[in-house]
Symmetry: C2
Subunit: 218 residues, 2 copies
DNA sequence: ATGTAGGCATACTACTGAGTATGATGTTTT
DNA sequence: AAAACATCATACTCAGTAGTATGCCTACAT
């Protein structure tokens, strides 16, 4: 029956997600190479058999994590793009949202740091290279969203961005750096997270605002 | 003879540095785990025997790279601290210098990204944990230099830094992000590098300057 | 010239960990 | 109910790699 088939599919996807999540946690803790499939299985209270039933290889798991991580980012930022607000405000909201995503989906985001470039050189099969290129393209597209808003702010006059590529790198660097030092603490309130995200975002974006008295210099 | 002994010591240190450098290049390309000792030896046009003659283990090599990377950073920044200049200017020079170090010593800096935390959990022996703690302390000390200058700027009035810990993270994140995307190109001029370092540094630090008209708001 | 020690290559060992083969158990289909 | 299938556990294989054992060779000391 069709509904049964769909239920089975749901179940399958859920199990895959569960494995991905466990893997992300392991990768966050010990890095990609040092975590074994057995580690992931242990995190699931299961054995290798279960993992290999849903994924062909460790690389496939990493790719799935990466895709998921990018989806988290897009989902957080895209609604803001549809709002009709000044570019500086949009950029501020996007950056804040990105910071939140970094903290909320820490295992995923941390797992993929530096992973792509390293994997790219090492991966043997043609299929893997293709997937990697696709993931890199996704990331470029994502960063492109920020650069587009910066360009818009430049033409609007709400932002002053002489080099939007570099400004984008700076913004991403400051926010992505979260995965290096941020640690989830159970007693931490949502307000505290918001403060972190907003402070990081505004620190960069304040540096991109037009000088209030440009004619007064020298 | 003493002079001979010193020469031998020099030679030994040089050989160690050569191995460290080759290892850093390999680590940059393929990551820590994926590079084998044989890879490092091949980069040296040598064999494992040479590597193990100077280092007890792969971890020891990583530790040496890390120490060297931190030394590069300290050496670039400490002279600036001795100059008698306003804190905002000092911070700007320090950040720019840090950016230069990231580009100039890319293999070292890239090798140690995320490496420490991952190694910390995994390392078994007590001695290794001690070395790692020492390296983490070094890094904290280094970042402390920036925070100290920020505090000074705050009291001087040349900077406005409500949360110097977060501001420090933002600054380090934006600059350290260089190792993720910067690639050495032979045709690239020194001027181009300077532009990158200065743009990144000023983007952050401009966001930390006091508002010119704080009384005029709303 | 000859002993001696550092500098390294070669040839191992021992182990880890990715991926596979197989089968046991439950669940859905007919 | 029994056939077919999905979901896993168990028990392997085998390749790759960190680290070691050994010995040659060269340079320096005496």
């Amino acid at each position: 029956m069709a509904s049964t088939e769909r239920q089975q599919n749901n179940r399958k996807v859920e199990n895959q997600q569960e494995i991905i999540h466990a893997a992300a946690i392991c990768f966050m803790r010990h890095g990609l190479e040092k975590t074994t499939i057995d580690d992931i299985a242990r995190e699931l209270n299961a054995t290798k058999g279960r993992v290999y039933h849903y994924f062909r290889s460790k690389n496939d798991i990493f790719f799935a994590i990466h895709r998921q991580a990018m989806r988290f980012c897009f989902d957080a930022v895209q609604p803001i793009l549809k709002q009709n607000i000044p570019a500086d405000e949009a950029l501020m909201r996007m950056a804040t949202a990105h910071g939140h995503v970094m903290m909320d989906t820490l295992p995923y985001q941390r797992s993929i740091r530096l992973g792509v470039d390293i994997y790219l050189r090492g991966s043997t099969t043609e299929a893997e290279r293709e997937v990697l290129m696709e993931l890199i393209a996704l990331r470029n597209e994502y960063e492109g969203l920020y650069r587009a808003v910066m360009r818009q702010g430049q033409s609007e006059g709400t932002l002053s961005v002489p080099d939007e590529a570099l400004a984008g790198r700076a913004l991403m660097g400051a926010l992505n750096g979260l995965v290096d030092w941020y640690r989830v603490r159970p007693d931490q309130t949502q307000a505290e997270r918001s403060r972190i995200a907003q402070t990081l975002a505004s620190t960069i974006i304040n540096g991109l605002r037009p000088k209030p008295t440009p004619a007064a210099r020298s």
